[in-house]
């Protein structure tokens, strides 16, 4: 017998009991109908039994079977890695203790501590880049080169950019910042990278002029754009021969802000893309495992923070074609004030 049909499970025992009761009702109904036909019972009695059997069937179907199926679906989703909220189970808790259990899980997953932990992870990732010897050496090498070739102006510029980047990443402790602030940080980061890559790297920022004023004041989580931009450079354009173009496109709809960070780099195959999107869709595991690739960590981290702050309807989605490039689409609710976000996450 298949494992899921075994009687060691309570659900199967209940199902069996239900089926036995239903069979009893059906037999009784048929017997009474037959007796009614032969005049040994009144037609009314026969009708009552038929109605009782139907009523039992309806109650069991709508009251037990459908909610049970839904509850099973939710548990399967949870096991599959989807973040499930306690409210999703609202009508289908199997017992009061299960409700308490779900409340507790949700409390842990959605606590401000978790947000802080994610934010710290993002800061750590950003800092790690500065500690990363390659980054440091390349930057210092660029500074040295510039100092030798030209005057001191560019050295000053680079130093300023680095200082600005550190200040934004570490000193600014807010969870939500404006698009303008994030974009400034991206440009600073790009400026630093530009010294390393020279003209091999181009950044284009595209937006609808009519909406620009609204867009730049929209609130988004801090360190949303820079980690993705960094990802596009390291995993996309750095490996490409020739000039790499990076695009940040902003689009506003009635409800949402769409930010698309694209590169025309090496892209990724269909399987990797599917795996990445699967991971971004299921963030039950909000803390990212260390063994995962760095690119995955950055995207996963940004995605988790968006989910935690705005809800699972928002987040990241990746599109990619091998040798054609990758687009990371960030979806965020359009909000210029912070009223849409829980106070504890500010």
């Amino acid at each position: 017998m298949r494992e899921e049909y075994r009687l060691k499970y309570l659900s199967n025992r209940v199902l069996l009991m239900g089926a036995v009761t239903l069979i009893y009702f059906v037999i009784e109904a048929v017997r009474n109908v037959l007796l009614g036909i032969h005049g040994e019972e009144t037609v009314l009695q026969a009708c009552i039994y038929v109605l009782l059997a139907l009523l039992y069937l309806i109650v069991v179907w709508f009251g037990i079977i459908l909610p049970y199926r839904r509850s099973e679906l939710l548990v399967h989703r949870f096991l599959d890695g989807y973040l499930t909220e306690s409210s999703d189970f609202a009508e289908v808790f199997q017992s009061p203790s299960m409700k308490l259990q779900m409340d507790e899980i949700e409390k842990i997953l959605r606590s401000p501590k978790m947000i802080d932990l994610n934010k710290r992870q993002a800061q750590y990732l950003a800092l790690q880049n500065q500690i990363n010897p390659h980054f440091l050496y390349n930057t210092l090498e660029s500074i040295r080169g510039e100092a030798l070739i030209a005057g001191l102006d560019s050295v000053a510029d680079m130093t300023e950019a680095l200082a600005k980047f550190f200040r934004y990443t570490i000193t600014n402790v807010r969870n939500l910042v404006t698009v303008q602030e994030e974009l400034d940080n991206c440009e600073t980061y790009f400026l630093i990278q530009k010294y390393r890559f020279g003209n091999r790297l181009q950044l284009h920022i595209e937006y609808d002029v009519e909406d620009w004023e609204d867009i730049i004041s929209c609130k988004i989580p801090k360190l949303t754009l820079q980690p993705i931009l960094e990802n596009s450079i390291i995993h996309g354009t750095e490996l490409k021969v020739g000039t790499g173009n990076l695009r940040i496109q902003f689009e506003r709809t009635q409800e949402r802000l769409l930010i698309r960070i694209s590169d025309d780099g090496v892209g990724m195959d269909e399987e990797t893309l599917a795996r990445l999107n699967r991971k971004l869709g299921r963030d039950g595991n909000v803390l990212i495992h260390e063994e995962e690739a760095r690119g995955g960590i950055a995207l996963g981290n940004v995605n988790s923070r968006i989910h935690l702050i705005f809800g699972e309807e928002y987040g990241l989605h990746v599109y990619s074609v091998p040798q054609k490039g990758t687009d990371v689409e960030i979806t965020i609710p359009f909000a210029v004030d912070e009223s849409r976000v829980k106070a504890s996450f500010m």
């Binding site: 269909e270 599917a274 869709g281 309807e313 989605h317 599109y319």
Partner: protein, 495 residues
């Protein structure tokens, strides 16, 4: 600010245990013509189903006109006001155009139908799009393009904000398609949005603002504007392009202009009058039907559905009854659905054509030798598999190998690329090229010239008055149609 009309957010949809869509994201804006290219068609039917009906989702949300209409959390099983227009008519037959557009729509409350009034209401719509379809015409008498237009008008009048065109170029011809694009742009300006599903890149490039690439139930990439040419055309058609270039360079016209093999003489049907045509040995002839009634007549001649009013068919000068003749084989449109019998074994399906040529095909030793010969080509595993479990490619292979075994003189392929995604198109193309290489004549009956033109040695365009135009291969470059490979003919000419 752009207004979203339709959005699918991270949708995972499982039907009968198979993941049709996974982490599927798509948004369509107001007034936009969004393209969708099925690189492979897995998930396309699921997507169209989900757009129309709110079926239960495993994950994700669906929004239409700013409202969440479906979510994995709660499914209402309601119907969305999204129109789908494809090869199958959704109009009610034996009713007039106005009945279909006005009377059958939700919310029509008039107790007595005032035809004159409805006719008056239809008039501005018709003049808007510069069409002239009689209001009182029965829809079953309309041409395919008129039917498509009426379906579009019905959707517009009913207030559907999103209309899907699915492989519409298999129904309407090039000139009509251009007119349809004009109508789409007209309604696009009025705020109606369209999803245009087609594996033909040149159509997408002509009409769409953005295009989404569908592969294995996921959107692989969304591209727009200038990127469309660079990413879609160059990225996906290189193999196809190389294949066609090779075919064109190696196809010797002297091969086929020798012997007349099939001829139609004075064929007269419902719409077709005194139709005469010849097919030569080893040639690939493309017949483009410009009229729907004529198309139906030709199909009836091929399948022997109706007795001819007048005329006859000849193969090598001998008069033949078409469906019964073993010298001619017909591959129907969407053959993987229409020509394979799921309750028969793979071998039985394969040998069906051969049985017309020789007896004893059902005996063990004959079948063993077929298996020995074709096993390495088809794959040994297919002979053990239940036919319904074959992949789409294996099903195409089965149909074309069946024809190969039958060895007819002429193979008529009815809309061979219909319903095939980008991947399978290349495969179908190769299969037809193989038939030509084996010395058979291939006649392609089509409405859309896109893929067929690349194989053709001769093109015949048929309308109500019989052959409207006959074009030889060396003159293809001068055709004023939208087909992807014309530039290759043009460069060939220039060379």
């Amino acid at each position: 600010m752009r207004q979203e009309v339709f959005r699918m957010e991270r949708v995972t949809y499982i039907d009968k245990g198979i993941k049709q869509l996974e982490d599927f994201n798509l948004q369509i804006y107001q007034g936009e013509i969004m393209g969708l290219i099925p690189i492979n068609a897995h998930g396309l039917q699921g997507l169209l189903q989900l757009m129309q009906t709110n079926l239960s989702l495993y994950d994700g949300h669906v929004y239409y006109c700013g409202e969440r209409v479906n979510s994995w959390k709660s499914t209402r099983r309601s119907v969305n006001r999204i129109g789908v227009i494809d090869g199958n008519s959704r109009l009610v037959e034996h009713m007039t155009v106005t009945d279909n557009i006005f009377v059958l729509r939700q919310g029509f409350r008039q107790g007595i139908i005032q035809n004159k009034l409805l006719k008056g209401q239809l008039e501005p719509f018709m003049s808007d799009i510069e069409m002239d379809i009689p209001a009182d015409a029965y829809v079953d008498k309309l041409s395919a393009f008129e039917r498509v237009t009426v379906e579009l008008l019905r959707a517009v009048v009913a207030g559907y904000r999103l209309i899907v065109f699915n492989e519409i170029s298999t129904v309407v011809n090039g000139e009509e398609l251009s007119k349809l694009y004009e109508i789409m742009h007209h309604y696009g300006k009025q705020g109606f949005s369209f999803l245009y599903v087609s594996p033909h890149l040149e159509e997408i490039m002509e009409v769409c603002d953005r295009v989404a690439l569908l592969s294995n139930g996921r959107i692989q990439k969304i591209v727009q504007g200038e990127q469309m040419k660079a990413e879609v055309v160059e990225g996906y058609t290189l193999e196809y392009d190389r294949m066609i270039r090779y075919h064109m360079e190696n196809r010797d016209p002297a091969l086929w202009e020798k012997k007349e093999i099939l001829s139609f003489s004075h064929i007269t049907g419902e719409a077709l009058r005194d139709f005469n045509m010849k097919v030569y040995e080893r040639e690939c002839l493309v017949i483009q039907n410009l009229d729907n009634q004529v198309y139906q007549d030709i199909l009836q001649v091929l399948y022997g559905d109706k007795k001819l009013k007048k005329g006859a068919c000849f193969i090598l000068g001998k008069r033949v009854q078409l469906p019964a003749s073993k010298e001619i084989a017909v591959i129907s449109a969407e053959p993987t659905k229409t020509m394979i019998f799921d309750d028969m074994s793979y071998m039985d399906n394969l040998c069906m054509g051969l049985s017309r040529r020789m007896s004893g095909v059902w005996k063990g030793n004959m079948r063993d030798s077929i298996r020995r010969e074709y096993g390495p080509v088809l794959g040994e595993e297919v002979f053990q598999m239940p036919v319904e479990l074959l992949s789409e490619k294996q099903r195409y292979q089965l149909v074309y190998t069946r024809i190969l075994l039958q060895k007819p003189k002429v193979v008529v392929c009815v809309q061979p690329f219909k319903g095939a995604d980008l991947e399978h198109r290349v495969f179908v193309w190769k299969m037809m090229e193989m038939l030509l290489d084996k010395g058979m004549s291939v006649v392609i009956l089509t409405i859309n010239l896109a893929d067929s033109m690349s194989l053709a040695d001769r093109l015949v365009r048929i309308g109500k008055d019989g052959i409207v135009q006959e074009v030889k291969r060396e003159e293809f470059g001068s055709l004023s149609i939208t087909a992807p490979w014309l530039n290759l003919y043009r460069t060939e000419q220039e060379r």
